[in-house]
Amino acid sequence: MDDEFLIREFNSGSISAFNTLVWRWEKPIFNFILRHIGDHDQAKDVMQCCFIRAFKSLGKLKNHARFSTWLYQIALNLCRDELKKRKYLTYSISEVRDYDDCEEKGNKVVIADQSQDPTRHVYREDLAKLLQKALMSIPEEQRVVIIMKQYHGLKFTEIAEILKAPLNTIKSRMYYGLEALQKVLNSWGVDREDLGYEM
């Protein structure tokens, strides 16, 4: 059962078809929102709002093949509303030095080794927090492109459609976003070895 079939079923009155769509899309949408706004509880609330909005207006969606981009569009709008609402301040590099689980040693941020592992690899939870902070520190227009491309595998053309921006602008945002992220991670002293790469 593809999305288009489920949408047709939903439009014919099948609520379970919509629930299947929710079941199928809740994880990617939740992770998209979480990476965008950086707060787990708020991400849950925004995700619920997203599906409620989708439920109310799915009947109006004419091109069913565009369902995923349409859903991401709703999620993105809600994320932006949420960020506006709480006047979200992006983390500056100096703020990140106050990072709870880290302690500053010289200019290097050392991730607390919770598992007492002698190797100083960043662990999964720490890495998620670190990357979340790093993502939150770059401009929103770059962050959203990186999230859509890196974690949701959307094509550049699809991202351009969702963000209503020219294709080359999207690629450019991706480039500068990755570059900015790398600079942020370097400034925290996080190198590839910390992240568990075989050097």
Partner: protein
């Protein structure tokens, strides 16, 4: 092409959205330009770093259910969905406009212009206004007084009836309780009587046995 132009191609290459021609063009540039090659490797590394952040489960049980809609909601929804509401509104507005045009009256008397419009036809004869005299007021006051007096009288009667009923209820209740108490006392007295009688019997029997025993002892001596 300049180095800056290859940035977009780097993005295409990084995410496998590059054509063969562009790929070979980029490869040849990366071979010749050390700076771009280093940049491309850094971007690749950053992308790999981001890949390490795995998705998490939302742990939200989000299920939609349908609620049976009320007939009014159903009608409203139908009106909304089929744009009948708009059509109905236009129709009602048209009818009201027609009525107001039909019932418009224009009068020109002695050079004076009078214009009157209403939705419904007004009666031709003006309603006669009645003058209220002092006598009418007096009558009205009397009527009010009588009405208030009647209300008070009714109220008083009802109070009396309610008091009598309450007294009767109290008497009946009291009587019932007295009878219950009397029965209880009577039962208790009866029980005491039987109890005492039984005890006397037992004592008599014990005394008889004792007398028999004493007699037997005397006889044996």
């Amino acid at each position: 092409m300049k180095c800056d132009d290859y940035r977009l191609l780097m993005m295409d290459a990084l995410y496998d959205e590059i054509s063969k021609e562009d790929r070979s063009s980029l490869d040849s540039h990366l071979k010749s330009c050390e700076e771009c090659r280093a940049k491309f490797l850094t971007l690749q590394a950053t992308s790999q770093t981001l890949d390490k952040w795995a998705d998490v489960e939302p742990n939200v049980n989000l299920t939609f259910v349908t609620q049976p809609a009320s007939p009014i909601t159903d009608i409203v929804n139908r009106l909304k969905s089929r744009k009948i509401g708009l059509r109905l509104g236009i129709a009602v507005a048209a009818v009201l406009l027609l009525l107001s045009i039909i019932n418009t009256r224009i009068q020109i008397t002695d050079g004076q212009f009078a214009f009157e419009t209403s939705l419904f036809r007004r009666s031709a004869q003006p309603v006669a206004t009645e003058s209220v005299t002092q006598t009418d007021l007096e009558n009205l006051r009397k009527e009010n007084y009588q009405m208030v007096a009647a209300i008070l009288d009714e109220y008083s009667k009802r109070n009396r009836i309610e008091t009598v009923v309450l007294l009767k209820e109290f008497y009946n209740d009291f009587n019932q309780r007295r009878q219950t108490d009397l029965k209880l006392v009577s039962n208790t007295v009866e029980q005491m009587y039987y109890g005492t009688e039984q005890r006397i019997d037992r004592t008599d029997r014990a005394l008889g046995t004792l007398i028999q025993y004493v007699n037997m002892q005397n006889q044996s001596r």
